[in-house]
Amino acid sequence: MTRGDALALAVAAAIVGALYAHLWQPSVAASRFDVSVGGKPVGHYSMMVDRTLQIQGRMGVSTLKVENGRVRFLDSPCRNKICVHSGWLGHSGDAAACLPNRVSISLSGDAGSGLDAVSF
């Protein structure tokens, strides 16, 4: 091993370490969420205010419930109810969608980047 090799190894290890630090952050609680219909944003809401929202989609009205800093699909006029089964979402980067009704929500936090957590 030459000194150059040691340098290369150190740089490589630093890059990998930095990627761990950057990409493996613990998920952050979301502070707000965006609602889109058919890919177009129709509004963003705070997670801090408990309420029930009625979102007009392509098939009908999807109902969202916000409670204790979390949000979920309460009901949607679709057949499979995948959105409803997504359950409560509370982490930045989480998302849920009712594809038949074209309604989707995505959560974001103050950390900003959408890479903090993932769910389908």
Partner: protein
């Protein structure tokens, strides 16, 4: 009518021989199931490194390109996503090896030997694959979470590959000059 005659010179024959070795390793390695998807020792890269260290960057590029092309034809993955990942990985690793060779010319005091070159090329290989995988095949943020552990594997296997290549180059000695 003019006739073009292609004569294989010594370099062509060396490239063919080394590429054959690399292809055999590539195919054997493809036959082994990997415990973790995406993690492979990348032993075929040993050949690329040996060619780079004993001969030239130009020949190393030839050997790697032939290996990816013929290896994919033999395994049956030509033009599949796996082939593009393999090709982008090879491209990344060759780019790293080119930069490494340039570095060695500019800064002989901090010369990279087989181990350093191998580590950089392994990381670049994984990086190139990830770039294509994320940009083309699965543009999902979840994919990026796989990157750190896969790069760690690349780091470890890069060192191992480099040590193997260094050992082989030591045993082979300098290339025999052509008669």
């Amino acid at each position: 009518m003019t006739q073009t005659q292609l004569i294989a010179d010594r370099e062509d024959r060396l490239v063919a021989g080394f590429a054959t070795l690399a292809i055999v390793i590539h195919v054997i390695e493809a036959g082994f199931p990997s415990p973790i998807p995406g993690v492979k020792p990348g032993l075929a890269n040993v050949i690329t490194l040996i060619v780079l260290l004993r001969h030239s960057l130009r020949m190393a590029i030839w050997v790697a390109a032939l290996r990816v092309l013929v290896g994919s034809l033999l395994v049956g993955s030509f033009m599949t996503p796996g082939f593009w990942l393999s090709a982008s990985g090879a491209l990344g690793s060759l780019l790293a090896l080119s930069l490494g060779s340039g570095w060695n010319r500019l800064l002989p005091s901090l010369r990279l030997s087989a181990v350093g070159l191998s580590v950089l090329s392994a990381l670049a290989h994984m990086g190139g694959q990830f770039f294509v995988a994320y940009e083309v095949f699965v543009p999902h943020p979840g994919l990026l979470r796989l990157m750190p552990p896969l790069l760690t594997a690349a780091l470890v296997f890069g060192v191992a590959t480099g040590l193997v290549a260094a050992g082989i180059v030591r045993r082979l000695g300098p290339p025999v000059p052509s008669t």
